[in-house]
């Protein structure tokens, strides 16, 4: 990061005549959320470089001041303050986790600087705060999408096995609260520690529950892969749903194509770029990001890098439309964003909605023969 800052500083020195727009970022590139933050930071750096090569925004160069907050909300708060007071940025992207986002938004709201979060929890934008927006869909929406699919298949009794990490616990609570809206009863509610080696005890218990028709596993990291393997080990033939937390090719590799066969989960268009219809509004942006990221890093694109892509897209689109780099003007322009296709979904913000996505942003996917397929 240091070298990056120096390089951008050098570029800035070399081109004194050109005006610049300073964007701030606080991302968890290391620490427990590193595998989310790492692709996010790489995405931002790549997009800034690409944008400047194309002439910047309205002829002005974009400078990214990025800090690694290590997933620590205290550090995120310090860095957010530094971004506002020392670096004098016009807007902030970041907050890889819900915790860091909550810290940054407090600073951003005080300083009246627009802030786009990359974290999942609905609390970030509900209630709506004037300067805070976010790109990822909420875990509540993931639950709704899954239950909608279950309802279509006629399931009413569902067993849940959730991770006890923040992601799993939050989604577990959201799913339990929206289940009644879809006529679904949670008949079993088990948990596991994200570092556990075996979940067959919990799954055996779920299988033993009278009338259970499907299993849902909100979780993140290696836990869901182990649960998927254990389902196969126990030869449980109930329909099995995972969450968007594992929507990446890595999940199929870790669980094994054999064990993952038939698993359904809500994912973004990015994951099934090749399967999108030619006239899909997200197709051009998804294809472009996928090609650029994979050529640049040599690693496959993931949902999380996509969140950063969309935040950058929304921000630069707003700055271009605002025709000025004043924080208040940028904020107004973000709120006026309509029908902007990103990798996660098509964004339309309003004064009441700072998430800008609906359930159509999720695609219900099924793993068949080790590949993602779209459920029609």
């Amino acid at each position: 990061m240091k070298t990056f800052l120096t390089t951008t500083a050098l570029i800035a020195l070399a081109l004194p005549a050109m005006a610049e727009i300073k964007l701030g970022a606080s991302i968890s590139a290391t620490g427990p959320a590193a595998f989310l933050g790492d692709p996010e930071l790489k995405t931002l750096e790549m997009l800034v470089e690409d944008l400047n090569a194309k002439g910047g925004i309205n002829g002005e160069e974009v400078v990214l001041v990025a800090y690694d907050d290590n997933g620590d909300p205290n550090k995120a708060r310090t860095f957010a303050t530094r971004l506002v007071e020392d670096d004098e940025v016009v807007a902030i992207i970041g907050g890889t986790t819900t915790g860091t986002s909550m810290s940054i938004l407090a600073v951003a709201e005080d300083a009246e600087i627009p802030f786009i979060s990359l974290a999942g929890a609905i609390d970030i934008i509900d209630p709506v705060k004037p300067f805070t927006f976010k790109t990822p869909h909420t875990d509540r929406m993931a639950c709704q999408k899954i239950f909608e699919d279950m309802q279509n298949r006629g399931f009413t009794k569902v067993g849940m096995i959730s991770g006890t990490d923040g992601f799993g616990a939050s989604m577990q609570a959201q799913c339990k609260s929206v289940a009644p809206d879809y006529g679904i009863e949670i008949v079993a509610d088990e948990t596991y520690d994200p570092k556990d080696a075996d979940m067959t005890a919990q799954l055996t218990k779920i299988r033993g529950v009278e009338g259970v028709q499907a299993i849902l596993n909100p979780g993140f990291g290696q836990g869901p892969s182990i649960v998927t393997r254990n389902v196969k080990q126990l030869a449980i033939d109930l329909p099995f749903y995972q969450s968007h937390g594992v929507a990446s090719d890595g999940f199929i590799d870790l669980a094994g194509a054999d064990a993952a066969e038939g698993v359904r989960l809500p994912g973004t268009a990015l994951l099934v770029a090749d399967l999108l219809a030619e006239d899909d509004p997200q197709k051009p942006v998804v294809d472009a990001y996928k090609a650029m990221f994979e050529a640049k890093t040599g690693t496959p694109v993931g949902t999380f890098g996509g969140y950063a892509h969309d935040a950058f897209l929304i921000m630069t689109d707003a700055i271009a439309r605002a025709g000025s780099a004043e924080p208040a003007a940028i904020r107004d322009a973000i709120e006026a964003t309509t029908g902007l296709a990103g990798t996660t979904g098509v964004y339309t913000f309003t004064a009441e909605d700072h998430l800008g996505l609906d359930l159509t942003a999720f695609r219900m996917l099924e793993i068949k023969g080790g590949k993602w397929t779209l459920v029609q």
Binding site: P32, A34, I161, D198, Q222, K232, L234
Partner: protein
């Protein structure tokens, strides 16, 4: 019936992992009274180096061997670079040094191997073995066999070999051990090599079940440490029994009470045992040196 058996098999699967990690704590503790908190990092390195060597095209047995040898060498390096220079420092300081070493190893692994989660194929396939309606994965049998083999090896080492007795003598009184001609520096080096090697073996065997990433070490170390304390720190039999007991407790609590209280129940039992038997189930009696 088949439910009870599945809970037990789940407990045994988890317990074998804990036991194998707990065994790794034994040697360094016996040589120096130091609880090596970098032990979990050795387990992580065993898995991660195997992943890297396997991805580079080495056959799995060779990759595993490379991982064990390299990790043992890193264990020696850790002793030479961190513990030996601080010789004479109180045990608590040495324990804190091992915590520092573990943070360093984790950070280095993150830079070298990246932040992704990895795994490699199980040694004997993924088809579960059925026992009276319950199932267990063949890899779990490998882990159980590994922990029993390491236990027997350690037990023979400490009771039947001169070197093993030299390790115990060093722990008992370093100065007296030196006076009777034991090379205590070599004993420390050897104990780090063996502990790291056993940790790496644990990592090699459990990775197909638990998967691995740069940060799995801490969780392994905590559970392995708890198992070793339950059985009695320093005693291979204690590590083995403590590991399986902890696993079974978790499996049965998850099955019959609630998975929410699985870890809590296990730790309450550990607290209760340590309250009545402060040295653990099989711990040696503490004799204060005056």
């Amino acid at each position: 019936m088949s439910e009870l058996l599945q809970f037990l098999l789940s407990g045994v699967t988890v317990g074998a992992v804990y036991a194998l990690v707990a065994l790794g704590f034994t040697i360094i503790y016996n040589a120096s009274d130091v609880v090596n908190f970098a032990q979990g990092e050795f387990v992580m390195l065993g898995g991660m180096i195997t992943v890297a060597a396997y991805a580079a095209g080495a056959p799995l047995p060779l990759a595993a061997l490379v991982a064990i040898v390299v990790t043992a060498a890193l264990g020696v390096a850790m002793n030479k670079l961190t513990i030996e220079p601080a010789r004479g420092a109180p045990v608590v300081s040495l324990v804190i040094i091992t915590i520092g070493a573990s943070i360093f190893i984790r950070g280095a692994a993150q830079l070298i191997f990246g932040k992704q989660i990895h795994t490699y194929p199980a040694f004997s396939g993924d088809d579960p073995i059925r026992i009276l309606g319950a199932t267990i994965l063949p890899q779990s049998l490998w882990v159980i066999a590994g922990s029993v083999a390491v236990f027997i090896g350690l037990w023979l080492f400490f009771t039947r070999t001169l070197l093993g007795r030299a390790v115990l003598a060093t722990s008992n009184n370093r100065l007296a051990a030196q006076l009777v001609g034991i090379n205590t520096t070599f004993v420390m080096t050897l104990s780090f090599a063996l502990s790291a090697g056993i940790g790496a073996l644990a990592g090699v065997l459990v990775t197909p079940i638990t998967m691995t990433s740069y940060d799995v070490g801490l969780a392994f170390a905590l559970k392995g440490f708890a198992a070793a304390m339950l059985g009695g720190m320093g005693n291979p039999k204690g590590a083995l029994v403590g590991g399986f007991l902890l696993g079974l407790l978790e499996g049965l609590t998850a099955g019959y009470i609630s998975s929410q209280y699985k870890d809590a129940a296990a730790f309450i039992v550990i607290l209760a045992v340590l309250f009545f038997l402060p040295q653990g189930l099989f711990g040696r009696k503490s004799t204060d040196r005056v």
